[in-house]
């Protein structure tokens, strides 16, 4: 794995300094002459802008390569549909590689295995195939790559933001707005987040509200109720920049935007700007573009015969810290503006 990873690092040339190096490296990659045509399937929910940015990353590499075609297969947010989409895509025999955003960690494992068996270069992005939420490495035998932040990374990020936001506030009352607390990964993240926070006795988690649904609209409504029930909160922490934005609206309504700190997740364009403008404390960093680039690069090279099995954390890959907040702005490139729309 070490070797492979370095190969990737080489391949994506530290990622953040654009894709130029990427294309070079894949150009003078061993089998450069064999510019075999490659057809990739990008299997994800289309109505989601994080997944769209990932696609943009994939597309960027494909364009540079020239000999790569991509089909976007939509799965909605329906795991069963994704199951059949994958199965059918495999059966169709059209694809050399497949980049998937799994909607169901374990439910899709059979299809992941089927893809491998049909020797399709399979890369999972954003979330994993398999029941371990703590490793970046591919969990399905023979899988080419896995590009994601583990729930450990995310949960830690969420925790650090809360801790940072509460720094020298005592007691610091925190209200949490979940996206959908029924989703397994949120459940796991919560464990990690609250584990971290528990170590700081100035912090008090006063309420945990579900139903943000990753929509600004819903986040707004929940924030309204949260502020009614707990007018004395110091921090509103959210599982997504969409809800963060909703919370901001709710605070604006009652003119308390400057009293109460907001944290989000995803380093969206809006979120990053809000942090830079000082309206939010921070947001957990995502790197969807980098995710797409790395995934595409792995899939393409594997499709052209390289033997790979790589796990990559795109945020590290891009050289970003785990969170983007008031206290670490400088550690990010000046032009870092977030990659997706809320």
């Amino acid at each position: 794995v070490i070797l492979a990873t370095t190969a990737v690092l080489a391949a994506c040339g530290g990622g953040s300094d654009d894709g130029a190096s990427t294309s070079d490296s894949s150009a003078d990659a061993p089998a450069s002459d064999s510019k075999k045509k490659v057809r990739l399937a990008y299997v994800a929910a289309q109505a989601n802008s994080v997944f769209k940015s990932i696609y943009d990353g994939v597309n960027e590499i494909a364009q540079k390569d020239g000999a790569v075609e991509i089909d976007r297969l939509d799965t909605g947010f329906d795991p069963t549909k994704q199951f059949s989409v994958m199965q059918d895509a495999i059966a169709s025999g059209r694809y050399d590689g497949m980049i998937v955003v799994p909607l169901d960690a374990v439910g899709l494992v059979p299809q992941a295995e089927a893809a491998v068996a049909a020797d399709i270069a399979l890369v999972n992005v954003n979330s994993q195939f398999g029941d371990s939420f703590v490793t970046v490495d591919p969990q399905v035998e023979g899988q080419v790559g896995s590009v994601l932040q583990t729930i450990e990374n995310i949960g830690t990020g969420q925790g650090e933001l809360i801790i940072g936001a509460c720094k020298d506030i005592d007691p610091c009352k925190v209200g949490w707005i979940a996206g959908d607390a029924k989703l397994p990964f949120e459940v796991y993240e919560r464990k990690i987040r609250e584990g971290l926070v528990a170590k700081h006795d100035n912090i008090e988690l006063v309420t945990f509200l579900d139903g943000g649904a990753y929509l600004t609209e819903e986040g707004y409504k929940i924030a309204q109720d949260l502020l009614q029930a707990h007018p004395d909160v110091n921090v509103i922490a959210t599982a997504g920049d969409q809800m963060g934005r909703g919370a901001e609206l709710a605070l604006k309504d009652i003119g308390r935007l400057d009293e109460i700190k907001i944290t989000g997740e995803g380093s969206s364009k809006y979120g990053v700007k809000a942090v830079r403008d000082g309206r939010w404390y921070g947001t957990v960093t995502y790197a969807p573009l980098e995710t797409g680039r790395v995934a595409a690069d792995l899939a393409i090279r594997a499709a052209r015969g390289e033997k790979l099995s790589v796990g990559v954390n795109p945020v590290e890959e891009a050289g970003f810290p785990q969170t983007f907040n008031q206290d670490n702005l400088k550690e990010f490139p000046a032009d870092f503006a977030g990659e997706w729309d809320t």
Partner: protein
């Protein structure tokens, strides 16, 4: 149902019959007053109305559809369409035309639904399932990136602005309730809706244009759903292809049916829908104010709905018997 066409004696009886769900509502209200200090505050109550204005507005339209014994699965998609169209056109044509266009889009889809169900004689479930799916695709196509952010000022007035201390959204909700209420309980068209829903054959024999009546209710439902979507989009200055959807659909129907409007048609009332919306709104608000855990939320929600409705059923039974 309509207390209006009843003699004093009957009105008394009806009142008693309809006691149930209102009672449940009041009971819950009192319970929440004690459970949380934050509940019975002006802000909170206004918040609730604001939050549920969209569901309430669409519920008015769906009430008509259900009474005429139709069904509309496309309102979730129409909700999204309304927002996306409004946002998109607000950017190109300007705010007012944009908002208007959003509503018109919904009206149009509703009209198509009506046409398919009446002229096409296609089962409403399928017809609206199909149009819903198609509309979803259209919203995606329009919004391309699935998110349309509007930076024109004035666009968010509808969703966030106030008039006499009340949000426009709330005024719209009140307006929808009053208008559909008058239509349903006072106008000829309302009577035709009940007649067509209760016994289409009888309606036809009485010279009522059954198809026209049904079709119109679908159009109204489409309009109300779109209005709800436009308000939502305006509130966050964003049109979004995945707004609304199942959850919206579910909230709307839950509200209407919990209120006591029958799915089998011919029976129902707007005030029932209003009560239904309030009931659900209070439950959810209560959960958030009390910060009840997800697990208990679902179990409690179910239990409360059952309790509320049983009371309704029970009181109705008591009055229709003897």
């Amino acid at each position: 149902m309509t207390a209006l066409s009843l003699s004093p004696k009957k009105a008394g009886m009806a009142a008693l019959r309809d006691y149930g769900i209102v009672l449940s509502c009041i009971a819950l209200f009192i319970a929440l007053c004690f459970a949380s200090d934050a509940f019975f505050t002006q802000t909170n109550l206004l918040n609730i109305l604001d939050q549920w204005s969209g569901v309430g507005i669409a519920a008015c339209g769906i009430t008509l559809v259900l009474i005429v014994s139709g069904f509309d699965l496309s309102i979730g998609a129409i909700f999204a369409l309304g927002g996306v169209v409004a946002a998109k056109l607000a950017m190109s044509l300007g705010v007012a035309p944009g908002l208007l266009a959003g509503c018109v889009a919904g009206l149009a889809v509703g009209g198509i639904n009506g046409g398919l169900v009446t002229l096409g004689r296609i089962n409403p479930f399928i017809a609206t399932l199909a149009t819903g799916t198609m509309v979803g695709g259209v919203s995606l196509a329009i919004s391309a990136g699935f998110l349309v952010t509007v930076d024109k000022d004035g666009f968010d007035v509808l969703g966030r602005g106030q008039l006499l201390g009340l949000r426009y959204s709330i005024w719209m909700l009140v307006a929808s309730l009053v208008i559909t209420g008058l239509i349903l309980h006072r106008s000829r068209f309302g009577r035709y809706i009940y007649a067509v829903g209760g016994n289409p054959e009888a309606a036809r024999l009485s010279g009522i244009r059954v198809g026209l009546v049904q079709g119109t209710t679908y159009a109204v439902a489409g309009l109300t759903a779109a209005v709800a979507g436009v308000i939502a989009a305006s509130r966050v200055s964003t049109g979004q292809a995945d707004a609304g959807g199942f959850n919206f659909l579910f909230d709307v129907y839950s509200a209407v049916i919990v209120g006591g409007t029958s799915v089998s048609g011919g029976e129902g009332a707007i005030w029932r829908t209003a009560v239904g919306v309030l009931l659900l709104a209070m439950i959810r608000n209560g959960f958030n104010l009390l910060g009840i855990s997800t697990v208990y939320q679902s179990i409690l929600l179910g239990a409360i709905i059952l309790a509320a409705v049983s009371l309704d059923v029970w009181s109705r039974a008591r009055t229709t018997a003897s």
